[in-house]
């Protein structure tokens, strides 16, 4: 065999090895990188769907208002009307999708009010705040105020 280069055989072997390496790289890459990688950018497109899949825990006030019209009527015009139902009642998506299966408790009207209305200098001054030591004669807030329509008229 006439060889043009010295040790031509080594070069060919190296070339074949390199080619095999490249092929293996692309095969592995095809197998291991998900198809949707790069669909929108340098990430797995399916990750968007994964993030969407979580069930909601808060139903949103629109859902509550569809069934509890009596409460909507009671709240109308009051300064609590803009407060979302679940701000006081807590997350109730389970109840909203099946009211019979998950019956919610009632918020404790003795303690819940102070979560928002307890006096604190860091609160905006125009927000209505009280100090329970000198407001309400030590009674439960709900003895005088209705939670859905707190103004005493």
């Amino acid at each position: 065999m006439s060889s043009r280069f010295k040790d031509q055989e080594h070069l060919i072997r190296m070339g074949v090895l390199l080619l095999a390496g490249i092929i293996v790289f692309f095969v592995l890459r095809g197998v291991m990188v998900p198809r949707d990688f790069g669909e929108y950018g340098h990430y797995r497109g399916g990750a968007l769907e994964d993030n969407r899949a979580r069930p909601a825990v808060y139903a949103g006030r629109k859902a509550c208002e569809e069934c509890h019209e009596e409460v909507v009527a009671a709240r109308k015009g009051g300064r609590h009307a803009a407060v979302g139902c679940e701000a006081c009642h807590g997350p109730l998506a389970k109840h909203a999708s099946d009211p019979a299966a998950a019956k919610p408790g009632r918020p404790d009207a003795k303690t819940i009010c102070l979560v928002c209305h307890l006096e604190n200098v860091a609160r905006p001054a125009k927000f209505p705040q009280v100090n329970p030591l000198d407001h309400g004669e030590g009674k439960a807030c709900s003895d005088c105020h209705k939670p859905h329509q707190p103004k005493i008229s």
């Binding site: 929108y40 969407r52 909601a56 407060v83 979302g84 997350p91 928002c116 860091a122 927000f127």
Partner: protein, 262 residues
């Protein structure tokens, strides 16, 4: 002899493998294409999400922190937050020597999860207010740039998300966030952060924190929706983002933000 048959065997196997994996990937692609869209009415390219926070309305009740933990399964305890509330206390200071500025005192016991106990006195000349914080949903986010595997990214609708399946848990992004908005989830050992309740907003709901906020101090906004009141709000108010010098393209706008807030 044996080496020759081995080689033939190898060639046969590897060519089979090549053919089959090619066929499999084609089959997989057609399956993936056949899958129905999960949220058919939601088109990512019609939205660009952000948030507006009005410091003048925040009462520090902690509803947002509790709602967020309930909605997103964030572990309880003072190390894990997707959103939290800080209390700023700015002592009166010496106005004739403003360079000797008193540093603000910031506290955030359990991230505001249990509300804030009164700590300061009325009429001592100090300024006190609450600042809710969360991921700023940056459009040029440092956290996504450092991820070595593409496990965190800015979605086409402007939300910075984490791919839990792809995340290695290397913590680069946690160090890269200039706002300290990320943590390592102790169970999955992957990075976690505010997703702007992505599962809610694609269904037309607002975020859990906004749902629970009694005063409207925080509002989810769609910056691509021409009918969103945010455009009027941004025009009529003097707003600011946190650390604008970092050029992160933050999309959480603060109204009435004091200069002392970092």
């Amino acid at each position: 002899m044996t080496s020759k048959s081995d080689r033939r065997e190898f060639l046969r196997k590897s060519s089979k493998f090549l053919l089959l994996s090619g066929a499999a990937s084609v089959a997989y692609a057609s399956v993936a294409e056949g899958q129905p869209e999960k949220a058919p009415n939601y088109r990512m390219h019609d939205h660009w999400w952000g948030m507006v926070i009005d410091i003048d309305l925040c009462i520090g009740c902690g509803n947002c922190v509790r709602a967020d933990k309930a909605e997103n399964g964030v572990p309880l305890g003072p190390k894990y937050f997707r959103t939290w509330v800080e209390r700023y206390h700015i002592p009166p200071g010496d106005l004739q020597h403003p360079e000797k500025e008193e540093l603000p005192v910031v506290d955030s016991e359990n991230g505001g999860f249990d509300g804030f106990k009164e700590k300061y006195k009325k009429g001592d000349g100090s300024k006190n207010f609450f600042v809710p914080k969360l991921c700023n949903q940056c459009s040029h986010s440092p956290c996504t740039q450092v991820c070595p595997v593409g496990a965190t990214f800015e979605s086409p609708d402007g939300v910075v998300l984490v791919d839990r399946e792809y995340c290695l848990g290397c913590r680069y992004c946690i160090h890269a966030c200039p706002y300290g908005c990320r943590y390592l989830h102790p169970e999955t050992e992957t990075a976690d952060k505010c997703s702007l309740c992505y599962h809610r907003i694609v269904r037309g709901l607002t975020t859990a924190c906004c749902e629970a906020c009694p005063t409207g101090a925080r509002r989810l906004v769609d910056l691509k929706d021409p009918n969103d009141p945010v455009h009027e709000f941004l025009k009529m108010h003097k707003v600011h983002v946190l650390k604008p010098q970092m050029a992160t393209g933050a999309k959480v706008y603060y109204n009435a933000l004091d200069g002392s807030v970092r």
